[in-house]
């Protein structure tokens, strides 16, 4: 991370943010610099962010369903990183972009208050999902008694102590499978005021501190404990690196990196790395290939740790991002095409659609178990899930549009900002 500091430390966060968005495409053809203190135009969204966040949401939904043919389309089968990395990075980017501007416009107190309101929304969403999980597990506990799986039914034991379990769930310490992303996100958002305040002061130092925290986490094995034992499946102390990196990019980092991103060396390193990662993942699924993997390399590489955001995963995400920024310019006309519209719509209401996705995955499981488990049914469930996500995103958009029209003009800025608020 030794990038020539072209922007002085005193640059106002909002200004840097305005440039950052341009900068993503500026790598190829530099634009005229924006006026020094202008704010980003309201309503002008970075569609690529929405697009990829929408994609991440779809992939997370598919990954939460039992494996099927469609699962082969998710990126985790083609490299080390998966949709979670995309989701957290983009969340950091948009959160910094939106609340960074709020901090500039209204000061740190107001911005912090708005961030806390967002945290509360995410928390409520998490509790809602937990309730659905409880309903599902209670149902299975009472209706499923296949003697083949008497041991696995031990998972129901926690139902014997609802007093402890539910309190622990409210404290975010008891988190069932597939419900790990929101608690991570809550912790990251709680830290956001501090991150933004520090970024406003010295962006590179903040990123440096983030890297240091990541390194310390690995060195001393720091973690968040969970109930009944173990630790958080996504360690916030490690995953903050992606979030802070996203924020750093949003607040001018991307622009300063544009030279590096545009260089063919970066491109070829990225391509080589992605191909190598693809080959390694291929050996997981085609065990016949695994004898071609040197044992030494395997021993050094495995296990590739998702909990602590393994360096291999992080670099894989960086390589993917570098190629994406290079080959998909901001003004790519395809972004306006109706074919990508569903993805962009989903990406721009990410909190709602994320929760919906988790719920639909639960529901899909339920249908597969109760009705039939065939491949056709599986495909129908996956596709209708995605259609529902699209439909709901459309309804939310429509409602916001209508509500905005009837609302006061000054409100538009606020509600739009929340829409982009990295949920």
């Amino acid at each position: 991370m030794t990038i020539a500091d072209q922007v002085t430390g005193s640059t106002i966060a909002g200004t840097a943010g305005a440039k950052a968005v341009e900068a993503k495409s500026a790598g190829v053809k530099p634009r005229a610099a924006a006026p020094a203190i202008s704010l980003p135009a309201i309503g002008e969204r970075e569609l690529r962010l929405d697009l990829f966040r929408g994609l991440a949401l779809w992939l997370i939904f598919i990954d939460h369903l039992p494996p099927s043919l469609l699962t082969w389309f998710t990126i985790r089968n083609y490299g080390f990183s998966d949709a979670t990395e995309i989701f957290i990075f983009i969340s950091g980017y948009t959160a910094a972009f939106v609340y960074g501007r709020a901090m500039l416009e209204s000061g740190i107190v107001i911005a912090t208050a708005r961030i806390m309101r967002r945290v509360w929304q995410i928390y409520v969403a998490h509790v809602f999902l937990f309730t659905i999980f409880l309903a599902e597990i209670s149902y299975v506990a009472t209706s499923f008694e296949n003697p083949l799986y008497t041991e696995e039914m031990g998972i129901m034991d926690f139902l014997k102590q609802p007093d402890v379990t539910i309190v622990q769930a409210l404290l975010l310490r008891f988190r069932p499978v597939n419900m790990d992303v929101l608690p991570l996100y809550i912790v990251l958002m709680l830290a956001l005021p501090l991150i933004l305040w520090s970024m406003k002061w010295k962006p590179d130092l903040t990123l440096g501190l983030s890297v240091a925290l990541y390194a310390v986490t690995w060195e001393y094995d720091l973690y968040f404990s969970a109930y009944p034992n173990g630790f958080w499946a996504f360690n916030p102390l490690a995953w903050q690196l992606l979030f802070v990196f996203g924020a750093w990019c949003a607040l001018g980092g991307a622009r300063r990196m544009s030279r590096i991103l545009a260089s063919p060396v970066t491109m070829w390193i990225s391509i080589a790395y992605i191909v190598a990662a693809f080959y390694v993942t291929l050996t997981w699924y085609v065990p016949q290939l695994s004898h071609l993997m040197p044992k030494r390399l395997e021993q050094w590489m495995y296990p590739i740790d998702k909990t602590d955001l393994d360096v291999l995963r992080f670099t894989h995400f960086l390589a993917l991002a570098a190629l994406t920024v290079r080959f998909l310019p901001r003004d790519w006309p395809g972004l306006k095409s109706p074919w990508l519209r569903p993805l962009i719509l989903c990406g721009s209401h990410s909190l709602e659609i994320f929760c919906l996705g988790v719920f639909l995955a639960f529901a899909g499981h339920f249908i597969l178990a109760e009705v039939s488990g065939g491949a056709v049914m599986h495909a129908v469930i996956s596709l209708s899930g995605i259609l529902i996500m699209w439909g709901v995103a459309w309804v939310i958009s429509w409602y916001k549009r209508v509500a905005d029209k009837s609302g006061a003009k000054t409100k538009i800025a606020v509600s739009n900002a929340d829409m982009a608020g990295g949920g």
């Binding site: 599902e136 083949l148 799986y149 696995e152 031990g154 004898h291």
Partner: protein
Amino acid sequence: MKAKVLLSLILLCGSLAAPPARAGDAAPAAPAACELPSYLLTSESQLPKVADAVKAGKPLEILVIGSRSTTIPASEDASYPARMQAILKDKLPPSETVHVSVEIQSKKTAEEAAASFVKLMEAKAPTLVIWQTGTVDAIRAIDPDDFRGAVTEGVTVLQKAGADVVLMNLQYSPRTETMISVPPYLDNMRVVAQEHDIPLFDRFAIMRQWNDQGQFDLFSPSRGPELAKQVHDCLGRALAQFVIDAAHLEPAQQQN
């Protein structure tokens, strides 16, 4: 990018659809439902002590250490260790004595189970230990690093006591997939097996294969023991074939 994804998808589909070899020679009377692709029944790692014992005509003492998924409630004789013993007796020369004993450690994590290994090995002195573990750890969400440490330690004790070791991972349980996070435990068992160069019997992949191919409906809520008996029969056959393969018991030694 798109083309690459598509290409790899085709490759993957091709390899998944690879002909189900081997099941035919697993046992002449193997039910069609037990069919598996050969890669699930082979291992690069070997079982030298089993090979020596059979070559020298010594009795083959096998100890299965497992949790509750190693048994079927109220139908011990139909569980996979019993089935494996029957198949091994069938396939090895008639002069070869095969004895399988089972040690169930229900509701114990890998660490808790491993603590009993020294005494257990003194009492039984087996040639081969098949250690089925991971389920209790996954249910209790034990730290995967701790789990790996415990499995490593257990394997070391078993090997020091002079036995060949086969690790067996978790069951594929689609009903509880949203409730139990299995992948970290599968990965860590794979790592330990690689580090110690011991065969890993991939029960998870095998059962998923059966479910995906429609041989068994593992979503079934049926309360009767029939499904469990059939699955354990197939697991026993697969495990016997796996042991024969990993010990490189020559076809001449098999009673085909």
